[in-house]
């Protein structure tokens, strides 16, 4: 079967397609070049977030303008489109409720400034570095280097913790020591460990709270302040140093014990020793 091109494509139509293609390509080049140029000209002091918003504004406005230029080039009657806009609006509104919700949520997110690009945030049980804030969603780079997309609507309706907003943080350790230990000595060991750790800040002062008489230990909360960039180093070094200091000073860190009985509950399980 032979397809007759001339029946479907007249010279006028080909010219129109060519013209629109050129407008589209040139228009897109202009929009992206302009966005690139503005990005380069923006002051260095401006946050990444603001730069991204300005950039997106230029791109989206450019694309809308380009759309109208192409529509007028196609000689489509815009009044008819606008006339139908009410009905189309309802149809689109119903069909894209979620998307519109996400877009609106996106505006609130940006204006609220709970987080910015590069911040480490926690949303529910997910956490990562804010990679991009887009029209419909935010994208996080998780710590195991995965890209996580969270719809804006989910973000706005969830509890968001910005981990890196403030320059310093407190890290809490839950410690347990045996009931027989001298708590004054325990406290002085903990204080010494924190004081000698170069990454722990002198001020705000470390928090040492004797929390409770637990089931098998006296529980102590230790909170150390540090500069946010040192999180892992502080966590590991304080952990190791406390264990080493407790071991060196003979402080027992108890752990749950299970007594195994056989037969009568009062008689212990018989253990036979091996004679050498």
């Amino acid at each position: 079967m032979n397809f007759n091109w001339s029946e479907h494509f007249s010279a006028d139509m080909i010219e129109k397609i060519l013209r629109i293609s050129i407008i589209l390509v040139v228009g897109l080049i202009i929009i992206y070049s302009l966005a690139f140029l503005v990005r380069k000209l923006l002051p260095v002091t401006l946050s990444k977030q603001r730069k991204m918003i300005i950039n997106r504004f230029i791109q989206y406005s450019g694309i809308i303008i380009l759309f109208f230029i192409i529509v007028s080039e196609l000689n489509i009657d815009l009044t008819a489109i606008f006339g139908a806009a009410g009905i189309i609006g309802i149809v689109i509104g119903v069909a894209s409720q979620t998307s519109i919700g996400n877009i609106v949520s996106g505006f609130f997110l940006v204006s609220e400034k709970s987080f910015e690009l590069g911040d480490v945030i926690k949303i529910g049980d997910k956490s990562g570095t804010v990679y991009s804030i887009d029209l419909l969603s935010i994208k996080l780079r998780t710590f195991d280097n995965l890209l996580l997309r969270i719809p804006n609507q989910t973000v706005i309706s969830s509890e968001v913790i910005n981990v890196t907003r403030f320059p310093i943080r407190r890290l809490d350790f839950d410690l347990g020591v045996a009931y027989k230990e001298d708590l004054v000595k325990v406290r002085s060991i903990i204080e010494r460990v924190v004081r000698n750790n170069p990454l722990c800040l002198d001020e705000p002062e470390p928090l040492i709270v004797f929390k409770e008489f637990g089931a098998s230990s006296i529980n102590i909360q230790l909170g150390v302040w540090f500069e946010k960039a040192n999180y892992l180093k502080v966590k590991n070094s304080v952990f190791l140093e406390i264990k080493a200091a407790f071991d060196a000073e003979g402080i027992e860190i108890p752990f749950p014990h299970i007594s195994v009985y056989t037969g009568e509950a009062t008689k212990p399980f018989p253990i036979a020793g091996k004679e050498k």
Partner: protein, 255 residues
């Protein structure tokens, strides 16, 4: 090792190593064909279990042909926080106190210029602290609470400098100095006879949470008749409008 033998131009020929003790830090500098291998070992006493395995830091620097290594004194690269304990300045009064500042040593090759800086060494481990509120503020080293009222009374080691600080209370209330920040990046270091003395810090206190006036300048009285500069300020521009005093607030609820 005395200070004069540290603060000099060390000539080290290719293939040889020179060890220099700077306080409790040992610097081993090996001159290689076109560069330097610098190893610093932290021998600072630690009264706790020392788990810092990376106490030795080794770096190679490609520098070219020069065989000379210069060690120059400098002030620490972070602001310093003085913890006042029981120091009060009544309204309208002015006081000059003197603080001991631990020195930092900068290692340059060939000559002392910023692009020739290889490494900075602090002669002892300094404690990190935070000046200001946890949601703002700035990182700093702590200076402790020791201060002197008489310039000639201070006994300093060769690794310390004297910092004269003049505080004028222009507020209507008593100034109980709790935390005072010394932004040493604006200070010069001078040699006055056998002592190293920084520029004079002049602060005018205008009230809590009000930014006071601060000035850092040469003083003939403390820095000597002739200006013998050992180190220029790290930042000579923009002294900025920042708070100089911080007053403690309890950040933990007492429930």
């Amino acid at each position: 090792m005395d200070l004069n033998s540290i603060l000099q131009k060390h000539q080290i020929t290719p293939g040889t190593t020179k060890s220099i003790n700077i306080g409790c830090i040992l610097l081993s500098a090996t001159r290689l064909k076109d560069g330097w291998q610098l190893v610093t070992t932290d021998n600072c006493p630690d009264d706790d279990i020392n788990l810092h395995e990376n106490s030795a830091m080794s770096d190679y620097f490609q520098t070219g042909k020069s065989n000379s290594l210069i060690i120059a004194p400098a002030l620490p690269n972070k602001p310093l926080v003085f913890k006042g304990s029981g120091l009060n300045v009544l309204p309208g009064q002015k006081i000059t106190i003197f603080l001991k500042i631990p020195l930092t040593f900068q290692i340059y090759f060939s000559k002392v210029q910023p692009e020739n800086l290889l490494r900075e060494i602090t002669y002892k481990r300094l404690s990190n602290t935070w000046f200001g509120e946890p949601d703002s503020g700035e990182p700093a080293f702590t200076l402790g609470s020791e201060y002197f009222l008489d310039f000639d009374e201070i006994k300093i080691t060769g690794f310390e400098a004297i910092c004269p600080v003049s505080v004028k209370n222009s507020d209507n209330e008593n100034l109980n100095v709790q935390r005072l920040i010394i932004r040493d990046e604006h200070l010069s270091l001078y040699k006055n006879e056998n002592k190293m003395v920084t520029s004079l810090v002049e602060i005018e206190f205008k009230g809590k949470d009000t930014i006071g006036a601060v000035d850092y300048h040469y003083s003939k009285l403390y820095n000597g008749e002739k200006q013998e500069i050992l180190a220029k300020p790290r930042n000579s521009s923009g002294k900025g409008l920042k708070l100089n005093f911080h007053f403690m607030k309890t950040i933990y609820r007492t429930e």
